[in-house]
Symmetry: C2
Subunit: 189 residues, 2 copies
Amino acid sequence: MALRHAVLAALLDGELSGYQLTKAFDIGVANFWHAQPQQLYAELTRLEKDGLIAGRSVVQETRPTKRLFQVTDAGLAELEEFTAAFAKPSFIRDDLLVKVQAADHVDKKTLIAQLSERATFAEAKIQLFGKLLRKMRGDRTEEEFLRHGHRIGPYLTCLRGLALEQGNRDWCERTITVLRERRHHHARH
Amino acid sequence: MALRHAVLAALLDGELSGYQLTKAFDIGVANFWHAQPQQLYAELTRLEKDGLIAGRSVVQETRPTKRLFQVTDAGLAELEEFTAAFAKPSFIRDDLLVKVQAADHVDKKTLIAQLSERATFAEAKIQLFGKLLRKMRGDRTEEEFLRHGHRIGPYLTCLRGLALEQGNRDWCERTITVLRERRHHHARH
DNA sequence: TGTGAGTACTCATTTTCATGACTATCATGG
DNA sequence: CCATGATAGTCATGAAAATGAGTACTCACA
C-alpha cells in the first residue's frame, strides 16, 4: 500500500485532478514513483472513500468536467504515520541488468544497442530533471533554496532522480566501452 | 515475464538448486533482481516444463535430495530473444522517496531517522559489493579483468549495484544535512 | 470533413508479487 | 536431550500492478 502514500505526497503540492496526476506519474516526471492512470484513478476513489483526500468537481466550458483533489487532515495524519513506519529497502528490478548479467552468453552487438538506447534515454531525463530543478529553485542557488525555500521535498526527490539517471548513463557508457573492447580483442583471435 | 529471464541469467553461472538460487536472490547478492523463494521455485517448475532449463536430482547422504538446474539450448535462445526485445525503462519505486517528497509536511526528526537507517543499510551493501567484486576479479585489476576475464556479466551488474548504493548513501547524507540545517534555522525563529 | 491529438475518465481481466504457514532432515551448541 | 539454524523445498491466499479496451467531448490542421 505505497501507491496510496505516493498519491498523497503528490497532492501535497496543491489540488490536482486525476488526469493531472497521471501526467505527473506517467513518463517519469514523477521521480519518486510510477503508476498507470487506471491505478491512480482507482486509488483516488479509495482515498476519497477513506476520507484521506477531498474532491470537488470543477465544471469547465470547453473541456470535460474534472475533479480536483486535496489532502485532508486525516490524509496528513496518514502520511505522518507512513513516514514513521518501516520502509523496506527497495531493490533493483531492471530488464537491462538481466541482459547484462547474461552478457557472456548473448550477442554483444544487440546488447550494446540496448545499452546505447538506455544511455540516450537517461540523458534525456537528466536534461528534464535539470530543467525541473532550475524551475523549482528559481534564481536562487541550490544551497540558498535548500536552506530557505519553502517546499524542498520535490526538489530533494528530483535530485535523487537526477543522480540515478547520471549513474545509469555513466554505467551504460562504461559497459559499452568494455563490451566493444572485448569484441575487438576477440575478433583478433 | 522478466523474473523468468532473471532466473535464466542467474543459472548461466553453473548448475544451481532452487535453494541455492534463493540464497543468491534474497539478501541482495542478486544485484540485478529480487524475488521470494516461492516465486523462484514456481518459476523453476515452469521453466523446466517449457524446456528452457533441465533439472536433475542429486541424492545426498546427509541432506535432503536436491534438484540442480541448468540452462538448455532452448533457454539460451530464449535469453537471446529477450536481449533483443525492447526493455521498458525501469522506474524508481521507493517508500523512502515518497516520504522525502512529503518532507515539508511531516516530522523532520522521524524522516532523518529513516534516512539515517537507509544510509547505514547502503553502506553495508557497498561493503558487500566491494567484497564480491574483489572476489570475482581475483588478483587482477578491474581493467585487466574486464578486458580478459571470462564471465564479466555478473561483475558489470555488480558495478551498477555498487554505484546505486553509493548514490543512495550520498543522497541520504546530503538530505539529512539539509533537513538538519533547516531544523536549526527554524528553531531560531 | 474527417483525422489525429489532447482532456478526462472507467471497467474488466490477467499477471505478477508478496505473505504466511507448513513438511522434512541433519548438524551444532549448550 | 532439546533448541536452534541450515538445507530443501511446497501450498494457498491475497494484494498490487500491468494490460487492454472503451467512452465522450474538443480543438487544430489539412
